[in-house]
Amino acid sequence: MIEYAELVVLIGAPLYIAAMILYSYRLIRGPTIPDMVLAADSLSYDLAVFLMALALYHRTSFLIAPPIMLALWVYLLDVYVSKYLVTREVGV
């Protein structure tokens, strides 16, 4: 059964990697800063899924915590960039 899991992850991988490259293209090109932060958001949500699937691929339960961090900390980037754009001073 676990070989099938590996196969499923391998079939899904090209989709996620292609999406990753397209998101990075938008992150590099993005004319404005909100565009770039949006692309970084989507990139890390995509990777949260894919890195979690890597735990199935390597058959271990110890690779599960990093994706949750990746998904959460990009929210921190969102909040800080938005606050800077709105008020110029982050702390007030």
């Binding site: 110890f62 915590a65 921190l76 909040v79 606050k83 982050v90 007030v92």
Partner: protein, 246 residues
Amino acid sequence: MNTRILVLILLVVSALSVSIAASLLLDIPVPRGLKELAVYYVSNTIRDTGSPEAVAAIVWDYRGLDTIYETLVLYLAIVGGLAIFRVTLKTITKTPIGLTLFSKTSTKIISLLIATISAAITFHGHLTPGGGFPGGSALAVAAMLIIPVFSMYALLEKGVTSTKLVALRGFALTAIGLVALLPVVRGLEIVTNQKFYPTQILGIPVGGSISLYNIFESIAVASGFIAIALYLSIPEEAYKTGESSA
């Protein structure tokens, strides 16, 4: 602008072509096995340290003394940074601006969840990946989310001041030192783990001193970074209007 993209494409293409050529032409051996020192660490970690996690075992047991000194460096760097900014936070009063109401409501929930997850990472640091450093920095992020969303004054009103945080940090550092020094009273070496601290309490694996170190290190890292963030978020006007009391 255009030359910049051109140079970028040149860089990527040359990196790719050099490595393709090297992998085709040269016979470079790639590593296919663990190094001998690592074999020792991986196979003996449970017997030597009582922790199934080899990284935590190295950080806090095999090379525990290094880590304690590095924690001291961390403490000094933060204290040095705070010494450059000499201002008392009490003198500044201003109405908080913050972000939108939605982000305020949801940041409350998200911070609670982050704190929960960071506690889970810290307390299982001797059994699963994680431990003091990731748990502590995650806890710091929970507080650093509050600063832009509610503004720093919200934290100050609740009594979270950087003086208290530096004091908390000092306490955590003292606790780490005590845990390291305590085996000396029974004539053992400094930073002794298994001969002094129990590996299991009532059948629950606690990993000797490793879990204690993890908890205190997490407190130290979190309070240090929150103190830095609080100092950095003092608005510039506080300096220009001369409200600072240097």
